[in-house]
């Protein structure tokens, strides 16, 4: 379980995050949702250990990790643009980190991940020969073979085309179920957040606007911001789609 207690972050005089409290259960998918500049990426970096919080505590399974280095925490991240090494092929990217850990997984186990992500036909391709979705999966595989305690995803769908988006969504969900892996996702898209995750943390101007399941957020929005920012968008989308298909599909 990951606990955030009163996390705050200031850059000089500017308050970026204020008193964030959050509990994330093992195997849960949690989205951090909010408009750009709300502080969600900063929060992600604080969890990862890349950015030091100004105040507050982080606990992982009851143990205080507030001052632990990024390396020692053992969490890992998949970047928005995947950050794959351009001079290595897909396979070498996937096994890149294995050389660095003592109790690395065996070739068989790596192959299991590769099969699971359906990457076998692409292993010897160069990075620029892969499609967006394939790059995404290679990047996820590279991170998973490091056996992270928590998987962080930074805007995982924003670099992908429409159809691929839906299949990657399912993929992320099945990874979390299969490996009972706690997954934290940053996104600015309400639809993405609500359809993908077990719980959603809505952030606005550095504070928690609402934290709950997608159902709770849809049915009992706690404030005006959630209604304006989250629900209105979804209503417009729903309206447009109904119009396209005709009301009979409602």
């Amino acid at each position: 379980m990951l606990e955030l207690k009163n996390i705050s972050k200031n850059y000089k005089d500017k308050k970026v995050l204020m008193n964030i409290n959050l509990n994330i259960q093992p195997g849960e998918i949690v989205s951090l949702l909010g408009p750009s500049g709300c502080g969600k990426t900063t929060l992600l970096n604080i969890i990862l250990g890349l950015t030091q919080q100004t105040n507050g505590q982080l606990l992982y399974n009851g143990q205080d990790i507030s001052n632990q280095s990024m390396r020692d925490r053992g969490f890992n991240i998949v970047f928005q643009d995947f950050a794959l090494f351009p001079h290595l092929n897909a396979y070498d990217n996937i096994v890149y980190g294995l050389k660095n850990i003592k109790e690395a997984m065996s070739k068989m186990e790596v192959q299991e991940y590769i099969d699971f992500l359906e990457l076998t036909p692409h292993l010897h391709k160069k990075i620029h020969e892969l499609s967006g979705g394939q790059k995404q999966r290679v990047s996820i595989a590279r991170t998973l073979v490091m056996q992270p305690k928590i998987l962080l995803l930074d805007e995982p769908l924003s670099a992908l085309d429409g159809v691929i988006k839906e299949s990657i969504k399912e993929r992320i969900q099945s990874i979390a179920r299969q490996f009972n892996l706690t997954t934290i996702i940053v996104t600015h898209d309400p639809e993405e957040a609500l359809t993908l995750s077990d719980k959603v943390l809505i952030i606005n101007e550095g504070t928690v606007s609402q934290f709950g399941t997608p159902q709770e957020i849809l049915h009992t929005p706690e404030n005006q911001f959630v209604e304006d920012f989250i629900l209105r968008q979804l209503h417009i989308k729903r309206h447009n789609i109904y119009q396209l298909f005709g009301e009979s599909y409602a």
Binding site: M70, N76, F79, D81, A83, F85, H87, G97, I101, R142
Partner: protein, 554 residues
Amino acid sequence: MLKTNKMMKLIFLPIIFFFIFFLIVPLLYMFWQSLKKGKAITIQNYVETLQNVEIRDAFLNSFQVSLVAALITTIIAFLLAYAVHFTTMHRSTKKLVQVGITLPMLLPTITYGFVLIYTFGNQGIMTKIFGQPLFTVYGFNGLLIGYVLYTLPVAFILMQNSMQYIDKRFLLVSMLMHDRPLRRFYHTVLRPMLGTIGGAFILSFVLSFTDFGIPASVGGGYKVIATELYQAMLGSIVHFERGAVISIFMLVPAVLGVVMLTILERFNFQYKQVSKSDLVVHRLRDVMFTVFSWVCVGAVFIMFSTIFIVPLTKGYPYDFSFTLEHVKNVLAEQGLKQVYMNSLIVAVLTAVLGVGVAFVAALLNVRTPLKGKKSLDLASMITNTVPGMVLGLSYLFFFTGSSLKGTFLIVIACNIVHFFTTPYLMAKNSLQKMDPTWEVTAELLKDSWLKTVIRVILPNIRPTIYQMFSYYFLNAMVTVSGVIFLVSTKTMLVSTRIKELQHFAKYTDIFVLSIFILCTNLIVKLGCDYIATPKEKTKEHTDEKINSNDVRYS
């Protein structure tokens, strides 16, 4: 899609004729000369030249000293660029490196030699400090230091451009993957830089190999190929055929260099985007790189302070009291003032006409469907390969007896061709980044093509134009090797005059003239930089198409 029109063809023709007349034909003519003996066509000249022990030695010497210089330059340039881009040393130190290291570019290479003599020679500052000369400055040592000073700015600029476009976030990925420092260095810095490192090495080698200014001043008895070529053409006994042969030999490493660069291209790859990531603070590393940077910049400063100390003191190195007498003497001398004016005229005209040629060539290549436009790329490749001395010599052969001989025009034409590659590629880069639909849009709005160029393209490429101008001007001001065979008494330039003053041991005058060049260049460079930078600094790198491997010779 834009269609070819008359106007395009009309401006394409003069450009193509210019390159045929001032590049292709002179080179071919020189090659022809190298095969002629009396009236026969033979390879006898080559055989004779190769049998000449002195020339063979000179060739080997050139090879040796250039190789060592290139090696040292590449290592120092890499470390300095690394310090600027991959350490958290203080911002002012980074700025200092960026400015200090590139300062020597504003001076003719021939000045470097005299600077070295006055720093390390018998009367040098270092010699005074240490009581005895640290090493003999004439010959190998002087050449080595001179070449390093000369090629370091270009190698450094190359490396730092390339490093700027390395995605720093890979450092973070590497840390998350638990890499040890050595593996991190390999995958995030060294591997992405391999192509550029190779490029910088080859570039430094070829520049050193073909430079004339440095060996002309500190070469001493150590014969190198550039001085042999000068001797063959303008020495006491003239051997035209031998000169032609030597310059063909001089072309060989340059051509090989270009071939190798093409091969090295395979090592380069482009990052789709460049994201900024905070660099990890590492005290020891930062302190070490700061010290190294200061030492390098300090060395450059100390050496170049000589240029100011010598002419501004009464009797260097015995009487260090300040005086303006030497400067006044130079200013009073009609000849020297005239020479300075000549340089200024040549530099301005080179820059104006050169920018015109380079811009039009790039425009036709990038933004028109003109047939035969690829020939312009070929021209740029050839000008990149041919060393200045070789080009100048080919003019000497070809234009002897014509009315162009001894005019400013021939000097300017030589400069425009010699330094064509870089401004041309600068213009090409900018033009490629512009929206490809502009011409069609303007046509739909009833603009003619020429009007579109003037109303849309030109205003948008202005900053690049200033940079091109500054590049041409600076190089025209400092070049020695390109024009040494072309200047007459009427068209004498500052840089070539320095070569003459050497014979009369008028070193104070040399330094005064060098200060003139330095100041002129500084003013032009700062002026161009100032008007070229947009007033608000909101530059985004992320969407830029990245080309980290433009390696150019001149």
